[in-house]
Symmetry: C2
């Protein structure tokens, strides 16, 4: 019998603000970071997970994760892995910790990291990548993962079961299709605000040459700059490559609409995060005012309750899940089911530290067992920091190859965790 011996937390930060990679209208100087957690066991594999942050506060995020140790330390690993729905409900229901959210921000992301680490552990023990483990579950087992509290006015357990059962017959075919062709990706690499026009054009050309047919540009600091940069991008890639744009929450609702109308001539594929991620009614108003530009959001959406409403209100054309913002795999399964119910495609947020490695599992599970569709779907890809991961993503001709190694993809090389440990790792000591 194997037990969880310890919940170990480490503060890992990459000094990315030295370059302007990752710069956008709201985040000028991020140091991409991970509040990293290991569920250490006394026998067999450990479970790895993390919260992605952009620097300051990563220590507080680590402290929040540590608070959850009593829920896992000492527990039987097999029982823990056999009831990940139960673990999720326990962690979300700690009444004292719940007060710090509820189900949002630092405390909720901490819950997500621990749940994701438990999934990594369960998948490694099963000898499967997480997406394959998820896709091996029955519809009943899948709905048992989901906390339907606050969802049932939009999605009941029975409705979720019906969605999953409808997708069952095609599972094997879609799984084979994924293994053969991979899952579509799109790239943000050309579009950071800190890049000049020449670099933008060069990187856009490279992206298309690499096989991507969807690229993304940051916008929102200056409308004149946005017009110029979108023109450069459109002239570079031609009419057939899709260009999404991303304002990173820069605008109020009434600023967004006229700004977007200025950009419509370049046929943006979607506008991402036009305003506060909390503003359901605002996204609906922007969608109406800026049509036909499609509206996307989600990387900062705090939980399933906000996603539910974005869908109920017809506020979004694209749901952008994030692997470490909400309560882990379980809450993301709920969000995939909600999106399927409303017929809205999911195009995950990625990049950061290890978000590509994690979120690909959710999209591939979605294709095999939930939505059954690739239409209008793509996973964000940023070619950044993958070398720190034990099983980095593999991209070929703009598509994610299926992960084949057991686990969630979260495991970072021990050497990277040591060197980039904050503030005492060698990289930061050299900085100081």
């Amino acid at each position: 019998m194997s037990r969880v011996l310890a919940l170990e937390v480490s503060d890992v930060r990459f000094p990315t603000s030295r370059e302007l990679d990752g710069s956008d209208a709201m985040n000028p100087d991020p140091d991409y970071s991970a509040a990293y957690v290991v569920l250490r066991t006394d026998d067999g594999p450990d479970g790895h997970g993390f919260v992605f942050t952009i620097g300051r506060g990563n220590d507080v995020q680590c402290a929040a994760i540590s608070l959850l140790a009593p829920y896992v330390v000492g527990r039987d690993v097999e029982q823990l892995c056999a009831n990940l729905g139960g673990l999720s409900r326990e962690l979300v229901s700690d009444s004292q910790l719940r007060w710090l959210g509820p189900e949002k921000g630092v405390m909720h992301m901490a819950v997500g990291a621990v749940i994701n680490a438990a999934w990594d552990l369960a998948a490694k023990r099963a000898g499967l990548p997480v997406w394959r483990l998820l896709a091996s579950l029955s519809p009943e087992e899948i709905v048992d993962l989901v906390d339907f509290r606050y969802l049932t006015d939009a999605l009941t357990r029975e409705e979720a079961l019906a969605i999953l059962r409808a997708a069952e017959p095609g599972r094997a075919r879609r799984l084979a299709e994924l293994e053969a062709d991979g899952y579509p990706g799109y790239t943000t690499s050309p579009g950071w605000l800190g890049y000049d026009d020449a670099k933008l054009a060069r990187l856009a050309t490279e992206a298309v040459a690499d096989g991507f047919d969807l690229i993304k540009l940051k916008v929102g600091a200056s409308v004149e700059d946005d017009v110029r940069r979108l023109r450069v991008a459109r002239e570079t890639v031609g009419p057939d490559v899709r260009i999404a744009i991303d304002a990173n929450q820069r605008w109020s609702v009434d600023e967004a609409v006229p700004w977007l109308r200025r950009l419509r001539e370049f046929s943006p594929w979607w506008i991402e995060e036009p305003t506060s991620p909390d503003d359901i009614l605002g996204h609906a108003a922007i969608r109406a005012g800026a049509a036909p530009i499609r509206v996307a959001t989600g990387e900062h959406v705090q939980n399933r309750v906000i996603f539910k409403q974005l869908l109920q209100a017809g506020a979004v054309d694209v749901v952008q899940i994030d692997a470490t913002r909400v309560g882990g795999v379980n809450e993301n399964v709920a969000i995939l089911l909600l999106a399927a119910k409303f017929g809205v495609p999911v195009c995950p947020h990625a990049g950061g530290v290890g978000l590509c490695e994690l979120v690909q599992h959710l999209s591939m599970f979605d294709f095999v067992a939930v939505s059954g569709s690739l239409e209008g779907r793509a996973i964000e890809y940023v070619d950044h920091l993958h070398e720190h991961f034990v099983t980095p993503v593999r991209i070929e001709r703009g598509r994610y190859r299926v992960p084949v190694d057991p686990g969630s993809g979260a495991e970072m090389h021990a050497d990277s965790r040591r060197r980039f440990a904050y503030p005492d790792g060698e990289v930061w000591r050299a900085e100081g």
Copy 2:
């Protein structure tokens, strides 16, 4: 010239879970706590503030507050106090820390505590209680306190100015009225779920004898129990005393409606927190389905963006601000202005640790300078832990007397902070 020497944080917890005071359907065993902050100055008064939590995680909340030290330590006190709108915008705009929310949960409450401490400092230096300081500002100075980002589709700076200017002529008269008669309160003391029927009836009788004409009962764990307890309460107080009920987020939307229809015969004055505080559309649906029961929420509403939408959607009849959940006095001023724009009364959440002491200033300011009305308004009152505060609230005949001492009311006795310090104060050492 005075400077801020240090931002000092302490973890203060009261072992309230030993009693069942504060028990409700979601929070069975709270240890009422404060993540307490002092802005220490080298000359003149210090500034005090805190975040109210219910126990575990108070240390993480303290750590989040500490992250904000660079924004205040070393600064000129006079300049800081002269531009509290600027301080608020700076704290909310730290891009790395903002990632941890944005503007929600642990990090946003930390921002609120520091802003509130700066208000305490400013008011003490001015020799005024916060409500009087606020009510002495011109409409232009008041709108300068507000961050209108994400609000302008519902409330512009010009509309806020118009509301404040319309209220200007009556300020002196209403101020005199408040000083003579105080501000209405209501009490939750009889209604905790942990109390048996006899204790409920005894405390309800006492509340009415004490002058309260509005009491509140916790509901949501069992509909049969709720029917019985509401019957006991209604028979005890008669038809003329209002009874509000509070479900503390226990229900999904489709559970709430039939449950509330069972309780309609007792004419509840409002249903508070029927579901997730994030569920704007859910509150609107419950309001429609359970009419004529009025809907109230807010103590867990994370920021002005959610309040804006609750008002835009016609989802609430009562806005319940909380002094330490959002980004401090500044964001609460924004919320008071939003409520005034939509003509919805504000009845603050209080109780906890020191929430009565803090929030009374906001309601009194609202009456003098914003809404100009007491109609349908009352501040929650719980007779609990006031003895730990240097300037505790004063209640007479069910009404809050105006605070007269300089400051925000946040300052806790140094001796209380020492004795209840967690985990090393004498109270907790005795526990261990």
